[in-house]
Symmetry: none
Subunit: 413 residues, 2 copies
């Protein structure tokens, strides 16, 4: 089956927002073997939307539309589609109850504007959106499928995952794609390529392999397509084993796993606790750790010691050590890790101090210099890193490196 993604919105055409919706939908369709042949963006204009739908219907089997379903005047997708498919709008009880619940949870009554969002084309399948007030719509039209979803990313994702993909999956059973994403850290992309050159050369012809680099992480995507699902899975397992033999510990997770999740799982399994002392990352490591639901089981707390005074007053780092070696030093991060571990009474502690930039660098300690220390119940060690000159990327890379150091310690014990 072939699909087109049609995104509606002047905010996309004027470059106000990046079209991450198209990327997400394309990935998801790709995973179930639906080939995306076009991604098109048009303005919030009924004629444009209608013409685009007509044009794409001649070339594909499915159109996934996003945007233009909000409660405001510039949201016209619903009216355009109802009109195009000769449907009239009728009040949908379930959609209304959902809207009412959303408002009730926030202690509010439904406004007249939002009530109108429950008026929906009479012959479409309404996709109830528990994440927001705009329902999705599924139209079966002359052997084609047209799906209209809200443009708010998390609402679109909810409806794709819970309503659209399960329905589409049941319709495409001829081609199987099996795929795994491997997350690596600590090895540069070019070095990974050198390590994998021989293995890559020997992959079967029905495979695809791609490097997807991000700050601090390189993801490796391996996929196989064909019509025998079992043999594809067998091949994937075989190749995964070979890949893991070559890359070892550098692979920290697969598919949607994150390093904060992996570290959390390890702490949970071992019933160990964690505290963090952050300087240059300013709370970002703690944020990653606590983004995981259930993290209060192992995470006790952090001290963000942005000023030296807090390093000495709260973490009890000796002021003489700070003066002698500087705040960004092996000696100081070791004291910080010990300090937070004792203060929070945890088994493990991470500490980090560095120069995120753009200011604060010196010849000896340029922007990007970072010291990370991991305290375990028995040991305490520190490691030096040198990242780049971009503040946001340095924060991200330093946080991933710190979590990876902790991960390695947890795997060793």
């Amino acid at each position: 089956m072939k699909a087109t993604i049609l995104n509606i919105g002047d905010e996309l055409l004027s470059g106000l927002i990046v079209n991450t919706n198209a990327t997400f939908i394309a990935q998801q369709l790709d995973l179930i073997g639906v080939k995306v042949i076009r991604i098109d963006t048009v303005s919030d204009n009924g004629v444009e939307i209608s013409n685009a739908v007509d044009q794409h219907l001649t070339q594909c089997d499915i159109i996934i539309i996003t945007g233009g379903l909000g409660p405001t005047n510039d949201d016209i997708t619903k009216y355009t589609l109802a009109n195009k498919f000769g449907m009239s709008l009728q009040f949908n009880e379930l959609a209304y109850i959902n809207i009412e619940n959303l408002f009730k949870n926030r202690g509010l009554g439904v406004t007249e504007t939002n009530r109108l969002q429950a008026m929906l084309p009479d012959k479409c399948t309404v996709l109830i959106n528990t994440q927001g007030t705009a329902p999705g719509m599924w139209f079966d039209y002359q052997d084609k499928i047209i799906v209209s979803l809200p443009g708010v990313p998390f609402e679109m994702k909810y409806l794709m995952e819970n309503e659209v993909l399960p329905r589409l999956k049941s319709k495409c059973t001829d081609l199987f794609i099996v795929r795994k994403l491997f997350h690596t850290t600590g090895v540069a992309e070019s070095h990974l390529q050198d390590m994998l050159i021989e293995w890559e050369r020997n992959l079967p012809s029905y495979s695809q392999f791609a490097y997807l680099p991000e700050p601090g992480i390189v993801k490796l995507r391996l996929s196989f397509s064909g019509n025998n699902e079992k043999s594809l899975n067998d091949e994937l397992n075989t190749q995964e084993q070979k890949l893991r033999e070559i890359l070892g510990n550098s692979i920290f997770g697969i598919n949607s796993e994150t390093i904060e999740e992996i570290v959390g799982n390890l702490l949970n399994q071992k019933k160990q606790t964690l505290s963090i002392a952050e300087s240059c990352t300013g709370g970002y490591i703690s944020h990653l750790i606590t983004s995981i639901s259930g993290s209060s089981q192992y995470f006790k707390g952090s001290v963000i010691s942005y000023s030296n005074k807090i390093k000495s007053d709260v973490l009890e780092v000796d002021e003489n050590i700070i003066n002698k070696y500087g705040a960004v030093s092996k000696e100081v991060v070791i004291e910080m890790a010990r300090g937070v571990q004792q203060l929070c009474k945890t088994d493990y502690a991470i500490s980090i101090s560095g120069i995120a930039g753009p200011d604060g660098g010196t010849k000896d300690k340029p922007v990007g210099t970072v010291w990370i220390s991991i305290a375990t119940p028995n040991t305490i060690e520190a490691k030096h890193f040198l990242f780049g000159d971009n503040r946001q990327r340095n924060i991200r890379r330093a946080a991933i490196a710190a979590l990876n150091e902790l991960r390695k310690e947890l795997l060793n014990k």
Copy 2:
């Protein structure tokens, strides 16, 4: 002038990469008054590319194409366009010298594959790309302009900024677009709409107004287009004043400003310092504050008191108060704010405690319940919030609400 952005690449259609090129080009064209009417993505296929160009030429004056200019076999944009416009390829000396220099800088000689990149359509204007081996191409064709750029983002940006935009600017002096983005928080989108209904109705016909909601923030975009730049700016100022009269303090920033930046600026101006005690947001507020370069001027540190023990041990919250009122309570956040303010010796302090979810909610304190306290040099107050049931969004919304409470305190003093 109207433009279409045409992105070529299977990696976009399979969701392997996000189309940030389109966003950048759209922003840049928008700034010089070129209206982007369509953003289209097609595969690396000559027929598809050619058909898309034909289609868009009937509707716009300019097509900016990206991608398909690399040295490999699947890069066919150049051949497709040369063929379409009846041109033959000829060796371009300047393009070749540029390629040669790029290789020389890396201590390499030009390969045969890369030499072919200097073979270019004979009647196009070659745009020398000092950032990479693929030159850009500018075609004047039947009163229309077609520009072909490489897909590598920094190469595309270089050519847009240095070659394409200066040429386009000289051609469009007739239409001006003036625009401002207003960031609001604390008022729901539907409520904003109710407040603005009358004002919106009275906007002049040459204006455009849009609501752009995100978790915790609703952005409002107001633009005017016409041929008298001064009168458009005057109108924008007039309407901005009216908008600010209606929305008052709910507008916290404009254009690319963020709430953490605004709060940082206020602290800087007033030479005041800040510390933070975070529970449910787990470090995210500190992360936002320290994502701003120069934040060490006003931000001293935080305590992430995820466990009650740290609330009492480090922040000196009375254990009896925690037991009596619970960790998520007015009494506890007030003690937390006072505790961190004293510990870090700062003028201001934020504290926050809540139930981010998905677990931990009760009938009295459902998931999404958040208490925020702001300590100033003279006062300490707390406020109750009720967000939704999604952990990530609750963290984001709670952080924005906390920063907004601090902003309001800073504006009042």
